[in-house]
């Protein structure tokens, strides 16, 4: 059983129970709960955010629900927080705070600022550097997020295409919990966005760091959309429908 580190994306041999899947999937865990024992089958697992390997067992370090993805054999803990802890492959909305010679420094709401290399844009060359000002909003992807170092970002996807990343012009950014942000990005589309989309025209960019960017031709639309999204956090789908309808009526 080979074990290599405990950082995100690390690979750990594991196995538990007859099916090899932890019995706690979709259950709520508290920090310190043991999720798996690494003693049985020699399956290879990915240990995601909120989990840590401690000797022969995998422990939860965050409070939240345990999730498991069969395709990549990955476990992670999903909780909702006000503060954001960077994880690899998260898409985040950052705000530029500084410019260095080789990189832009973005505030992504985590414990440390993220660094975005100036060449990490589609079609960027030394002569063709993107022109970002301090205070600009950027939609980026977390490439590297070690516990002990500053997170690294990129405005391209793995293949080098822009895929929607890059600077966000205009609009309005508000904060929300990480749980709500995850909910907004989940499939199927949450009812609040569906119902809003049917009557209003707007665009949003949701960052898993608990930031949502909204843009629309009219300011009233932006405000309606922001309020609707913030209200929808703890509502069931039906309640979301009703809430959005009411909000649209009131604003007309």
């Amino acid at each position: 059983m080979k074990v290599e580190g405990t950082d995100d994306g690390a690979v750990a041999a594991a196995g538990v129970g007859p099916t090899g899947v932890s019995p706690f999937v979709s259950k709520v865990l508290a920090p310190g709960d043991i999720v798996l024992d690494l003693n049985s089958t020699n399956k290879v697992l990915r240990v995601g955010s909120g989990l840590r390997q401690d000797g022969d067992s995998i422990l939860a370090t965050k409070a939240g629900k345990l999730r498991f993805q069969k395709q990549s054999n990955k476990y992670w803990v999903e909780g909702s927080q006000k503060r954001y802890i960077p994880n690899v492959e998260d898409t985040v909305v950052g705000i530029m705070v500084d410019r260095r010679s080789e990189m832009f420094i973005l505030d992504i709401g985590g414990p440390a600022f993220g660094s975005l290399p100036i060449l990490a844009f589609e079609g960027a060359t030394r002569r063709n550097i993107p022109n970002l000002q301090i205070g600009a909003a950027v939609y980026a992807r977390v490439v590297n997020a070690h516990r002990d170092s500053d997170p690294e970002l990129s405005c391209t996807d793995a293949a080098g295409k822009s895929a929607g990343f890059g600077p966000l012009k205009g609009g309005f950014i508000f904060d929300c919990s990480t749980g709500l942000a995850r909910g907004l990005l989940s499939k199927p589309t949450p009812p609040v966005l569906e119902v809003l989309g049917k009557s209003l025209s707007f665009e949003i960019a949701v960052g898993l760091n608990g930031r949502v960017w909204v843009n629309a031709p009219k300011v009233a639309t932006i405000i309606t959309v922001s309020n609707a999204i913030q209200n929808a956090e703890f509502l069931s789908p039906t309640q979301q429908h009703i809430m959005v309808k009411k909000l649209l009526e009131d604003s007309q």
Partner: protein, 475 residues
């Protein structure tokens, strides 16, 4: 909006998404030399990074110091908290009250929230009562809360802080700014004012200039806001007071079980004693009303001594039932009174002062439900059928009374001496026949029993007289 943490003097206020915790503590110290007969009040703020990523640990930032100063000025210079009553020995010992304000979550307008939290904490804080005694009259005796009820601070009025944010040229005001508004505002003004319209403090630091008429407009709005906020604050404190009083009702454990089976609420209440000064404003069974008044009169005069003896007796008393367990509550042996003793007039004893002890089982059940509803902050969804609990309840209570009565009459003469002024509630053995009139005064129908059965229990209304056995007494 505001929640109390259950402990006296610790309050968390939630103003929108802003959360602030205030904790009040008291300590006996030496007074300032030039203010020998005044206690002191000090405000401390703590802006931990938990509340906002912008807060740094270590030295308080300018904003933190300003917040502390605004609250301090509002309370101290308006003399809201009476400091002279905090003096114990002039020039030697005074109470020093300390308010710690912790910012838990910053979503704007920390000043208003922190001020409310500090006020609520000061209103709910109880300090131990202390008396001066000893041989030379210079010794300070601090009484523990079990012996003497802790006493609250004297607060003359409630200075409420109201904050406005200015935008544009100062002609556009926003009340209670949130985090985003604070970040882009042009200036701010905080007005500390009480519900009588007396201005306690004004703080306008920097930012855009504001005309005098705008400031007057803000003052008028602040006065109206302070009135409504004072009402809200007082209501929240009152609810806390009721809950605190409810918590003091101590029930017999078996009684508790009966009630619990019907309405599953865990409550660590042990004793069946009721404090004299318990406020019965919310629940007032009519039967008990007259007795309450009688008892309250007594408690004014000699409450502390009564209470201490009362609690002593109650404590030793309830030990017996809990040890015996079950329905066999009386573990003291046979009654010493014999056959010709009427226990009818025994309506109470140290263990069962009937101030809040509804003599009707329906009322008792309702009382319990209501009390628990208040404790839980909600309403009980199930109304217990009184039939379910009345029988065993009656038995429990009657056994309790019997046990208490016998025990009381066997113990120190001190108790019966003091108990005599209480009249019908706590008669001495010799007075028993003369208490028939008091029955009427209490508005209860006594369930008359044939001679020889140990204890009667009083239920007004439709309850049939019950025969009991198993209480250990013979006829």
């Amino acid at each position: 909006m505001a929640t109390s943490n259950g402990e006296d003097g610790s309050v968390e206020v939630q103003l929108g998404q802003t959360r602030v915790l205030a904790v009040v503590k008291g300590e006996i110290t030496q007074p300032y030399p030039d203010r020998g007969n005044e206690g002191s009040l000090a405000i401390f703020t703590e802006f931990s990074p938990m509340g906002d990523p912008a807060f740094e640990p270590g030295r308080p930032s300018e904003m933190a110091v300003e917040l502390g100063r605004i609250i301090d000025r509002g309370l101290r210079e308006s003399r809201a908290v009476d400091t002279e009553s905090l003096c114990i020995l002039s020039g030697r010992s005074v109470w020093s009250i300390r308010v710690d304000i912790h910012i838990l979550d910053n979503y704007g307008n920390l000043v208003d929230a922190a001020n409310l939290a500090a006020l609520a904490a000061l209103l709910s804080y109880r300090r131990p009562e202390c008396t001066v005694g000893g041989d030379d009259g210079q010794q300070i005796i601090v009484h523990p809360p079990e012996v003497r009820e802790p006493v609250g601070l004297i607060i003359h009025h409630l200075p409420i802080a109201v904050t406005f944010a200015f935008f544009g040229d100062g002609n556009f005001q926003v009340l209670d700014p949130n985090l985003k508004e604070e970040e882009v505002m042009g200036g701010r003004i905080t007005i500390t004012i009480n519900s009588q319209g007396e201005i306690c403090a004004v703080q306008k630091g920097g930012g855009v200039g504001v005309s005098a008429s705008e400031v007057m407009r803000c003052l008028r709005i602040a006065a109206a806001k302070a009135q409504s906020m004072t009402e809200t604050l007082k209501k929240a404190v009152e609810i806390h007071e009721i809950e605190r009083a409810q918590r003091k009702i101590r029930r017999h454990p078996n009684l508790q079980n009966q009630i619990d089976t019907a309405s599953s609420v865990p409550n660590p209440i042990k004793k069946i004693e009721v404090e004299m000064e318990e406020t019965s404003e919310d629940i007032e069974p009519k039967q008990a009303l007259d007795t309450e008044r009688g008892i309250k009169d007594l408690s004014m005069s000699d409450s502390s001594r009564m209470k201490s003896t009362e609690t002593e007796v109650a404590e030793t008393l309830t030990e017996k039932p809990s040890r015996a367990g079950g329905r066999d509550l009386f573990a003291g042996g046979e009654s010493a009174w014999g056959d010709d003793v009427k226990l009818t007039p025994l309506k109470g004893s140290p263990g069962t002062r009937s101030t809040l002890f509804p003599l009707d089982s329906d009322a008792l059940v309702e009382f319990d439900v209501a009390a628990r509803a208040v404790l839980r902050g909600g309403v009980s969804s199930q109304r217990m059928s009184s039939k379910l609990v009345s029988e065993p309840l009656q038995r429990q209570i009657s056994d309790q009374i019997a046990a208490a009565a016998v025990y009381a009459n066997q113990t120190s003469p001190l108790i019966s001496e003091d108990a005599r002024p209480l009249g019908p509630i706590f008669p001495r053995v010799g007075d028993m026949d003369s208490t028939e009139e008091s029955d009427a005064a209490l508005e209860t129908k006594s369930v008359s029993q044939p001679e020889g059965t140990p204890v009667n229990f009083y239920f007004s209304g439709k309850k049939k007289p019950k025969k009991r056995g198993g209480s250990g007494r013979q006829d």
